[in-house]
Symmetry: C2
Subunit: 766 residues, 2 copies
Amino acid sequence: MNITFLNDPKLNILLPVIYLAWQDDILTKEEYTALNDFINNQDNFSKAEKDFLKSKIDLNNPPGRSELFFWKDLINKALNNHKPENLTELGFFIANADRSTYSKEDIKVIEPQLLKLEAQLGIISNEAISSLCETHDTITNKLKTVESFSKEKMTALLDGDQAAIINRVKKIISQPEFAFETSTDITVYREKVLEWCKILAKQGFGSHAYPKQYGGAGDIEGYFTIMETLSYHDLSLVIKFGVQFGLWGMSVMFLGTEKHFEKYLKDIGTLDIPGGFAMTETHHGSNVKGLETTATYNHKSRSFTINTPVPFARKEYIGNTALHGEMVTVFAKLIIDDKDYGVNAFIVPIRDRHKNVLSGVRIEDCGHKMGLNGVDNGVIYFDNVVIPYDNMLDRFAQVNEKGEFETSIPSDNRRFFTMLGTLVGGRIGIPRSALAAAKTGLTIAIKYGDNRRQFGPNGGLEVPVLNYRIHQQRLMPYLANTFAIHFGLQYLTKRFMNRTEDDMQEIEALAAGMKSYSTWNTRDALQECREACGGKGYLSENRIDDLKNDTEIYTTFEGDNTVLMQLVAKNRLGEFRKQFSEMNIATIFSYVLDQAKTAVTEKNPFATRNTDDSHLKDPEFHLHAFQYREKELVSSAARRFKRLVDDGLDTFDAANIMHPHMLQIAFAYLDRVFLEQFQLQLKSADESLKEVLTRLYNLFAINKLQENKAWYLEQGYMEGVKTKAIRKLFSQLCWEIRRDAVPIVESFNIPENCLAPIITTNSEQA
Amino acid sequence: MNITFLNDPKLNILLPVIYLAWQDDILTKEEYTALNDFINNQDNFSKAEKDFLKSKIDLNNPPGRSELFFWKDLINKALNNHKPENLTELGFFIANADRSTYSKEDIKVIEPQLLKLEAQLGIISNEAISSLCETHDTITNKLKTVESFSKEKMTALLDGDQAAIINRVKKIISQPEFAFETSTDITVYREKVLEWCKILAKQGFGSHAYPKQYGGAGDIEGYFTIMETLSYHDLSLVIKFGVQFGLWGMSVMFLGTEKHFEKYLKDIGTLDIPGGFAMTETHHGSNVKGLETTATYNHKSRSFTINTPVPFARKEYIGNTALHGEMVTVFAKLIIDDKDYGVNAFIVPIRDRHKNVLSGVRIEDCGHKMGLNGVDNGVIYFDNVVIPYDNMLDRFAQVNEKGEFETSIPSDNRRFFTMLGTLVGGRIGIPRSALAAAKTGLTIAIKYGDNRRQFGPNGGLEVPVLNYRIHQQRLMPYLANTFAIHFGLQYLTKRFMNRTEDDMQEIEALAAGMKSYSTWNTRDALQECREACGGKGYLSENRIDDLKNDTEIYTTFEGDNTVLMQLVAKNRLGEFRKQFSEMNIATIFSYVLDQAKTAVTEKNPFATRNTDDSHLKDPEFHLHAFQYREKELVSSAARRFKRLVDDGLDTFDAANIMHPHMLQIAFAYLDRVFLEQFQLQLKSADESLKEVLTRLYNLFAINKLQENKAWYLEQGYMEGVKTKAIRKLFSQLCWEIRRDAVPIVESFNIPENCLAPIITTNSEQA
């Protein structure tokens, strides 16, 4: 009789190891040697048996396919009856299946050798056994979407008192004429976007913010809501709409006076006068104070001459002007009798009603862009264009009858920033638009991840990719951010609507900061969404392409984010200085004392090492930690700056060194504001929403702590045990939120036609 | 005589403070109160004088413009003669300018009150004085580009022995027929890209990798160089080229045998047979082992029937097939007599020579994509398409004369991965292409930043934005990464060229890892480049648009990065297990001892707190720190995994928990490899390049330590003082490299026509 595993059961103790060696491709030369040595050392086996076994590990003569099938059958039979701890136990079980091939005593002798062999082969026992099991349930493949709260109530919470107008806008953008334009021809696309704007204007959405006597609804908050809701649809539309009715219209409304309202506002609201907002120059983007375009006053003719003195002073990226604009608000230095009176704003016609470019005006097309190709951005040069006296937007400064400059705000600087301050609305509209785009992206990626299956346990079904923790950890934090930013932007909007003079500096800082924070968040969220959708995410039909490329420039326009964050930090530092007066010894000392007190309560070993779940989820702990970071960053910045200047550095050089630190201040401040707003919403929310909101809130807080853990560790505010516990909690929260994730994104209630074929056509349901 | 500052010099002690209050817009109500109180408390001033001063701080009646000019004149005169410490000193200086208005005794009394007032107003003295100075030199505006090394030598180092072929490719892509296509019509664009491919094929670049007897140069390394160099030009071209000559041609070359080479290879190299590589299916992208397309063997007719059994088994994103492909390599499960013999590869014709789609084949166009629109990606369905016996690519498995399956690699798994292993070249070509795109982006952003000026010290010229540290810190780390990745990819290429059987697993892991690392690096680098170029970066003409959108999918194709990094980590864990055999008590104990030894030498308080520059720049320290991180992450992963499984978790669930940890392992491994390769290059480099390379090297090392500082702090490998010193050194290194940055990017020697108008037309030189 031939020697086989079947005929010679005692050889079966090696069967699982040999099978696995071939099956899992781990039979390297070292492994061969280990097996060979083991076989040679078995006194129990005859020469023929040893030869047989060696033939089964011959590198040049691997077992055939049918032999592998046969071995697997033997193993399966054993596993049906028994769940062994390791391959050794499994081997003995197969060997002893029909009779007592090995006695207890035999086993005692051979078992350690076999275990050693397993170790030499680098086999992890449980893993190996598990891999041999045909099918099994796992926690991972059982995880699935549940709906633990009312989506309608969540939508109501998010929409608040704006629900009516939100629904009106959604209804319009769901209509057939709002089908997305798929032509890549920008001429076609731009006309389509103009057409959409006209439809919206006809419905009164364009003039919504303007006073009633000029055809509007006098509802600025509603205007923001319109911008935000339109952002579920095409973003070129949003920007074209925003340029026309926001930048152009509101520059007239906020910088002009009665005579301008009378003359222009109604026609702007109906899109009868398409226009633009010409501030940025090629050489002056962020540093708008340095604009070089001039508006020279001519007393004789009571007129102004608008001029581009050097080519680089051309107005650039001016939306709605390459094709459609007929007038623009131009920011230019007012010159009277050769004296420079700082930047002021003027209405300058650039085309006649037949779209002919006017004499003295030269317009170039900015051409194809990374995104927003439905918006016609232009470059404008003015060659001594004369405009009448009344075209100066004269709310904050005027030229009087005698041809003298008059203003209620004598500082050029201050007047300029007051003018800009009135336009802060743009920095509210943009982050809200960005957030809507992130919501769309997350809806697509999360719903796709809930259906898309790849890989799975051996023999089991493939698993939805959203069940993988690493996938959850890429998307869920952005879902939590979405809520934090949503509530924060609501707060900003309310602050803006109820602003007083005293509030303005803080509101401007908040708006600048939230604009940067939200647009960067959208940039990162959409990048993750694209990658999370794989190749499908790359197809334009699935919308992440446009969402990403259109919002990409949001980080630059309405103020470069990095520059804006410096303004935010300066504001915080200013507040700090006011609070502490100068950084003399006494105040530093008292501040240090104050910090020391914090240290006593928050930096004691119990607190820095506290890893209790209840502590890590305690809103008080979060708030303290966020505030501590903010305060400490601000006060250390003040100290560092003073030290640098005291050491003889020019303040400009010192500021240069401080910029990265300042960026951190701005983030810390915004994180804290978003946290507070989220906490307030949690308190007042409908009871039935509290559980899911609390999970999102905790993830937001924990994620931010994790992002900044290096800083907390450096400060000794936390120790390694605590930051590790935070990481674990982070993983757990993402896992928990995954179950709610689909209903959560559905509660954004984004019109179906604004979403993507990969999720609307059930393309993943096999 | 009226009271004025001129007539009544003693009042001038308040002039600087009042001027600054109006000038800098800090006259809030609190500040008004502080000034008012100060004035009221001056016994030295008469009622009339007090009234005069109060009239100058009247919130309702701010000073006029000309009055501000006049005050500034007085201040300027004083500053021309004297550099005071604070506004108080300045005030006394103006007051005493013509005579001794205040005696030393007076000053002693009033000075503290004035200083207190300054403090109350939140004025930082040096800053305020500095802001009043008209012009001044700063370190920041004096920083500029220098050329401290030979660009030619640097180019020679980077190009190495590939210089000849690099220059040949650069010459071709600089020719007029390679002018970028600007049409947004994808039909036009796709034809242009095909035309470019044909020109390259005619020059022999397409067949370069193939054996000489089939028209090639037998130079696979040269092929990678061609792909990389082409990547300075249009990336659709690179991908179309790579699909045709790499994926399609090399699948025949590596999976086929003599008969296939004879029949196809020459025509593939000349582009006479355009083709594709049909692996990915809609439902199986990452999990290619799960492919469902079948190739059923028919013994009677000695043929195979290729079939798409369910719609989701359609082949998707297949490059070069929506329009041009005539044949594709199809990966399908081989079925013989109803038995599944695993995935094998077959040549399947899809179009005839007149581009008519063949019967049984259905091809859909993937349509518009985020990028790479010059590549015609298609979806392919097979409806029982019969192909002859010879069309099976039969290097690793065959159907014999009797109709039986034969293979030298019996495990389906192993055979499949052996087949994939031969195609690892794609994972070398892609990261090299990605790196070239990053080099182009960095060249554009850095040269732009060197010219673009915004802001500056008061009264001084505006400063190149690259002089701002925050700007440097956004771009310089990517410049350092570029060199690390460049050297690393050279190393990978050499390893691949000189591979042995035993090496393959490691080379595959390296390639998978470097593909992910490089493509993610490019994604992030190009994002920073875009933002660093502001609005100009958004214009398509400046190329960052295409560079970014074309390479974006590199993170997904040739293997999803996140999935690939898991493979890398598994490989590392496997190596670790082999090294330590099983994690039994003895080995854990000995490993802990080993780690403890590290702790003794590297974790002593001196080392963890060592902030010496020489230590922080010591390659030995870097290597230790990188190795420590890698080892500790691997061993802790092994321990964690074992603990999770021991606690009863299914291995699949345990693996799920471990994925984020595994990602860290892969990064740590790759960081260490890149570091080592950079160190090797430093040692052998030309002496004249060592200084600049050392700076780049240090920045790479320090930046990685900084990115992972939270981990080092958690581990107690570093303390806060050290991580703070690292941050400072990081800032310093970026500052130093900025000077060399322009010559560094110029040493990439990218053809002028592949760069952007913003840097080639001197658009920023005023």
